[in-house]
């Protein structure tokens, strides 16, 4: 009882210090200490739990990528054997794709800022939200078990193509169940966000008054709910095939491995859009704030997210042009692939048009956002190259595709994540990082990135096959350049993350609510936010990006 009284008095004390309520970081719920985090259903705390776990997995993924590059320094083996190399690139792919880039922006920043941006106190189903995090952790643990248990880490590549994934002796069952469970977590997050956006917008916030980040999450959540079950059942069938010898995909049991590829890509291509669309939402938030200008073509950006979600679900077989599917199918899928470039291009043009004549402030979030546009454009355009049937036959399964995926996924979502971290982290913790260090780190990461991944396009064009342990000596010079690039980029990432981490401990405290001059709702509440976000649910009148600059003409007239 005494303790309870203490907490109570502590709360009221703090409350009087902070105004109406305490910051969510100081808020004492039912549980104290670490349990206050692990059992909290507060969307902000869950977002931070996700942030910590996903950044840890990101560190593992980066380390594996670093080791892969180190291994490829010479045409023959250097630091690891061929089997370990296969496990490395498989784990690198699985961790980075399923555990990092697919969940990262929705789970971290979506959880944290979606309810705030639409003027709600929490997501629709807070307990389900916490369950999603635990499912994610269970999935991650299962994957770690697959690595450490006897049998060995998965060595199939992140695509798990049958029949090898049915026959390899490595711990496939653990790996596939891990992804099944992580997929379940992803579906639950999607359901949560959809219900939140539909039912919990502040009064007055019509669909076209929502911030673009919420639009991006809305489109993403639909993809998550619709396509994740497909890969879930596909991976489950591979498990069943392995355990019970049920004939589904394995040709010796009558199955068709191409069907596996279809079903795998039915998810995994739209998953590219689960990866990139939230990141595009982040960029749509950052660009108007740092150019102090209303976003150009709000409705087009909002609808293009939906367009990407729609078209993106219909192009999966362009991963399979060389598998012998029919010419008609190839033609249709190639055409649709070209069409899906349109909504992405709409976004890129609208962002650049927003910058035009804006009052641009070069701050770290904007630098990362601009890098996103640049790198994503390269990634997108090289994707179009491979969408063309004749070229794809030549380029498929070469380093060209590896370069393309890294420009899109890392240059897109990776840089989107870095932009989001620099944009929102000060708001989340009420402390500012060292901006100079952040800018230096940006340039190191950016240069390292291009030195690392651009040679992949040249290598691919020359015919270097992906995933190979040995390579011909004439490729070595490009591999050496790429490996040096990986060193530069890793140094940059370490500086960037340490700078952010250091800011959380020693950074300058921020008192103002609106750190960057944004107009969305998260900049109208205290820094860091209170437990309930809003003292009073706001009434929404204007659209989300009403900057003064657009009213200049009106102002001038008034002055006259």
């Amino acid at each position: 009882m005494e303790k309870e009284v203490e907490i109570m008095s502590g709360e009221t004390l703090a409350a009087s210090n902070y105004g109406n309520e305490v910051s969510y970081l100081d808020y004492q719920g039912k549980h104290k200490g670490i349990l206050g985090w692990l059992l909290s259903t507060d969307h902000k705390k869950i977002g931070i739990l996700y942030l910590m776990t996903i950044i840890s997995f990101f560190a593992v993924g980066v380390t594996l990528g670093f080791l892969i590059r180190l291994e490829l320094l010479a045409p023959e083996g250097t630091i690891v054997g061929p089997q370990a190399y296969n496990e490395f690139f498989t784990l690198h792919g699985i961790i980075m794709i399923f555990l990092v880039v697919i969940p990262v922006i929705p789970a971290v920043f979506g959880n944290y800022f979606l309810p705030i941006m639409i003027g709600a106190k929490d997501v629709a189903f807070p307990r389900l939200n916490l369950l999603s995090w635990y499912l994610y952790i269970i999935g991650g643990t299962l994957l770690l078990l697959a690595v450490v248990l006897p049998g060995g880490a998965p060595d199939t590549g992140w695509t798990f193509y049958v029949p090898y994934s049915v026959r390899t002796g490595t711990n496939m069952i653990f790996t596939l169940s891990a992804l099944f469970i992580v997929g379940f977590s992803s579906i639950l997050t999607g359901i949560n966000f959809l219900s939140t956006i539909h039912r919990m917008r502040a009064p007055g916030m019509g669909w076209f008054k929502m911030p673009l980040f919420s639009w991006a999450l809305y489109a993403t959540s639909w993809i998550q709910v619709i396509v994740t079950p497909i890969v879930g059942i596909t991976l489950l069938m591979v498990i069943i095939e392995r355990v019970f010898h049920v004939g589904v995909f394995d040709p010796t049991l009558g199955g068709d491995p191409i069907l596996f590829e279809h079903m795998f890509w039915m998810y995994s291509h739209p998953a590219v859009y689960i990866i990139i669309v939230p990141s595009m939402g982040v960029i749509s938030e950052i660009i108007p704030v740092f150019s102090q200008r209303t976003i150009f073509g709000y409705k087009f950006i909002a609808c293009s997210s939906i367009g990407i979600a729609l078209f993106g679900s219909l192009v999966w077989a362009h991963h399979m042009f060389s598998t012998g599917i029919s010419d008609t199918a190839e033609f249709i899928f190639s055409l649709l692939t070209f069409l899906v470039a349109i909504p992405s291009a709409i976004k890129v043009f609208n962002w650049t048009a927003t910058l035009y004549k804006g009052s641009i402030k070069i701050e770290p979030p904007l630098l990362y956002a601009l890098a996103f546009i640049f790198l994503f454009s390269i990634g997108g355009l090289t994707g179009i190259i491979q969408g063309a049937l004749s070229v794809d036959i030549y380029l498929t399964k070469t380093y060209f595709i590896v370069g393309h995926i890294h420009y899109v996924v890392f240059g897109g979502t990776g840089f989107g994540l870095f932009a989001a971290l620099h944009y929102w982290l000060p708001k989340m913790f009420g402390r500012m990082y060292n901006k100079k260090v952040a800018k230096v780190a940006f340039w190191i990461v950016f240069i390292g990135f291009n030195v690392l991944y651009f040679p992949f396009f040249i290598l691919g064009w020359m015919g270097m096959p992906r995933r190979s342990y040995h390579y011909l000596p004439q490729f070595q010079v490009y591999h050496v350049v790429a490996t040096v690039g990986s060193w530069i980029m890793v140094i940059g990432i370490i500086i960037m993350l340490l700078n952010l981490l250091f800011s959380l401990i020693k950074g300058k405290r921020i008192v103002e609510d609106n750190i960057w001059g944004g107009e969305t709702l998260e900049w109208k509440i205290s820094t860091p936010p209170t437990f309930e976000n809003f003292e009073e649910i706001p009434q929404i009148v204007d659209g989300p990006y009403e900057y003064k600059q657009n009213q200049d003409a009106v102002l001038e007239e008034e002055v006259k």
Binding site: S195, M200, V225, I226, G232, H245, V246, G254, G255, M263
Partner: protein
Amino acid sequence: MSTQEVADIHVNRDDIRSRMGMWLFLFSELLLFGGLFFMYSVYRFTHQQDFSIASKEMNIFLGTLNTVILLTSSLSMALSIVAMQKGKRGLSIFYQIVTILFGLSFMVNKVIEWSHEFNAGNFPGSEVLLSRPPGQILYFGLYYSMVGLHGLHVLVGMSIIGFMTVFTIRKKITKDNYVKLEAAGLYWHLVDIIWIFLYPLFYLIT
């Protein structure tokens, strides 16, 4: 279905929101089975003859009986919700238990049916099955995985309704707040609907 619409958006309770979440979940469940139906249609198309031969071995009597049982259980589930809407708690509990018992008898029939197959040596990975043509291996592979996964859903549905019965007894589900029971009902109907498609695909079409 219901006249109960508590929708104060910024207070914790919003029944429309809860129902929407449940529908979205059911939607993703449908797509999970959708993947299996997709596989079924592809293989049915490529191995028509084998599928036709294999499907004639199914026990139509037990399949039909199970269809009747499951359809009736959907009725009792719906009746338990109506009873709750009218405030008849005891009647609602009765219908919930009836639903669970129907689910149980469905599973018992399933066990009988499968043990016949297993005794005949017709199970996944068995020599008898593997010596058959590829299309028939696929047919039985899909049969066991689809019906098995559906059976798993029946078990999950039964335990969910079991929890609802406990909630009803503890008065957490009441005349004014029965959205949980409704959600459990929706899940049970989903289980029913999937079976309505599995039944013709495996038992009726030859």
